[in-house]
């Protein structure tokens, strides 16, 4: 059995205890909501897009340390970035979170620095927690689609 330290890396606990970019944004920022039907966790992502950039992002909702820290790190990683780059960060993160080996090759061409986010790699060893880690990301994707529709 993989150890707890694979899952709960210090940086994850840090984002859990002091989450970045908590709060809400008024319209016209796009608000999307994600649910983890298994555990009832919910998350709201507020996304402001200007001139092709994610100008601001805020996170609200409740969840476990993995879902909350993943959301916090995500917000830090995408804030101020051009939309195209945000989309490739999302793709890279999601491929890091998949168990199938072959999906990695796709993402390999797309070298994006995930930085702190790589701390979440250990989650893959705990398959039931993958949904926790990806909840914010799927919610962000929805928001991106709405904001750029």
């Amino acid at each position: 059995m993989p150890g707890l330290e694979d899952l709960y890396r210090e940086i994850i606990l840090d984002h859990y205890r002091s989450p970045r970019n908590r709060g809400e944004l008024p319209p016209p920022a796009v608000r999307t909501e994600g649910h983890n039907p298994l555990c009832g966790d919910e998350i709201q992502v507020y996304l402001a897009v200007q001139n092709g950039f994610v100008s601001d992002v805020k996170i609200s909702g409740q969840g476990c340390s993995i879902s909350q820290s993943s959301a916090s790190m995500m917000s830090a990683a995408v804030k101020g970035k051009p939309i195209a780059e945000v989309r490739s960060i999302v793709r890279c993160f999601k491929s890091m979170m998949t168990i199938e080996e072959d999906s990695e090759t796709e993402a390999q061409d797309e070298k994006v620095k995930l930085g702190d986010l790589e701390a979440l790699q250990g989650v893959v060893k705990f398959p039931v927690r993958i949904k926790c880690a990806t909840l914010a990301w799927n919610t962000l994707l929805q928001g991106l689609d709405e904001a750029t529709a």
Partner: protein, 410 residues
């Protein structure tokens, strides 16, 4: 009569499983229970020596299999003190049993504006099927509220039941462990002219069930929560209700005759058992019921009251202000299903740390989201005890919770 619960524990092979050098502490029986050797053996023996179809073929093995299957039905009927074994219908699970009632009795007897009363602590299985009737035919739902200590608030019961056609409620909350006053509720429903449906999923495995004394019109429960296999549920209903209702699924076994221009239904219980039933599973449930009878349901309940009492006591002593236990604190009012919150640690994280010690609990909303909203949480940790659990399991739970508290504190 005292039961040797040390021996009971040894009857469950899986409980001696060791993972990473630690034995299993199984505290998720409200979710699904473990199986005693006699159940495993009964199913294996049937599959190895006796497997054959039921009801359809004339050869000896088929008639033996039919006898075994029907024997299980009789055992289940006796277990709940049903007046007649033909009133026991085997379904896929309790969820299907509840849906069967709603789709047959409900659609035949309810119309726009009719009132169905539920409680705020229902499992989704006793809520969503009714929501579907709200959407389809416009029935109205009312809910019995809950007191701060997790009991049903019966102060407005008679008002809620005015003009009601149905009262459908759980006899024990799968989240709070609260035992509801089933007999009183059935009586109140009948006084108001409503039928009473009891979701017995959490009570039938843990205490004596006397359906005649309780006075319900329908009772639903699942085999897998009472030492039997998964894939099988039970619907009990009063004979004249079951006879008056339309059929549920159509197909083989449920018919008396089929012509090009229509069909006639078989008698009970076949009327509600379309297709090949879970034969092996029914035989497994028969063995589970015999096993529970041997232990004695009064003993089971007493044992669990003791478990609840000890666990609440230890959790409170050892975790103090860091733990909030939901539901009644008086062990006499509850089963040994304990939902709680550990301060500042999300239930998923708690269960993850507990898993390191092989302590199996459920973290989540327990299919009771309306109740979760009322408690003001997204999720709880739930530790649920059964006849095979002991004081040491409660101690292991407390040890692991202390570890979780330590791990997450800075």
């Amino acid at each position: 009569m005292s039961t040797d619960f040390i021996k009971v524990r040894q009857d469950f092979p899986v409980l001696s499983r060791v993972i990473n050098g630690k034995t299993l502490v199984y505290l998720d029986s409200a979710n699904t229970s473990q199986k005693p050797r006699v159940v495993i053996d009964a199913m294996t023996a049937f599959l190895q020596h006796d497997y054959a179809p039921i009801n359809r073929s004339g050869y000896q093995m088929a008639s033996e299999a039919t006898d075994l299957y029907e024997g299980a039905r009789i055992a289940v009927a006796k277990f709940i003190n049903a007046p007649n074994a033909n009133e026991v219908i085997f379904t896929k699970n309790a969820t299907e049993a509840l849906n069967l009632i709603v789709r047959t009795w409900g659609l035949a007897n309810l119309k726009r504006g009719d009132i169905v009363v539920l409680t705020h602590m229902e499992h989704h299985a006793n809520m969503v099927p009714w929501h579907m009737l709200v959407a389809e035919i416009g029935i109205e739902l009312r809910f019995i509220p809950i007191t701060p200590d997790g009991q049903l608030d019966l102060s407005t019961l008679d008002e809620l039941l005015i003009d009601a056609k149905v009262l459908s409620f759980t006899s024990m909350s799968n989240v709070l462990g609260t035992i509801t006053p089933a007999k009183l509720l059935c009586d109140a429903a009948h006084r108001a002219g409503a039928i009473a449906i009891v979701d017995g999923c959490q009570s039938v495995p843990h205490m004596v069930t006397d359906i005649q004394d309780m006075g319900a019109d329908f009772l639903a429960f699942s085999s897998h929560k009472m030492c039997g296999p998964s894939g099988l549920g039970v619907l009990w209903g009063r004979q004249q209700l079951l006879e008056s209702m339309p059929p549920y699924m159509g197909g083989g076994n449920m018919i008396a005759d089929v012509r090009l221009d229509g069909f006639t239904c078989a008698e009970l219980p076949a009327k509600y058992e379309a297709g090949t039933p879970p034969i092996t599973e029914a035989i497994g449930l028969g063995a589970a019921v015999a096993y529970l009878n041997d232990v004695g349901m009064v003993n089971v309940q007493n044992h669990e009251t003791e478990m609840a009492s000890y666990a609440i006591d230890q959790l409170t002593k050892r975790l103090g202000d860091d733990i909030v236990i939901h539901g009644p604190t008086n062990p006499e009012l509850r089963g040994a299903t304990l939902s709680f919150a550990l301060k500042n640690i999300h239930p998923h994280d708690v269960s993850q740390i507990l898993d390191q010690s092989n302590v199996c609990v459920r973290a989540g909303h327990h299919c009771a989201k309306p109740l979760m909203r009322l408690l003001g949480v997204n999720a709880t940790v739930r530790a649920s005890f059964y006849l095979y659990n002991n004081h040491q399991d409660a101690d292991s739970l407390c040890d692991a919770l202390e570890q979780a508290r330590e791990f997450f504190s800075v």
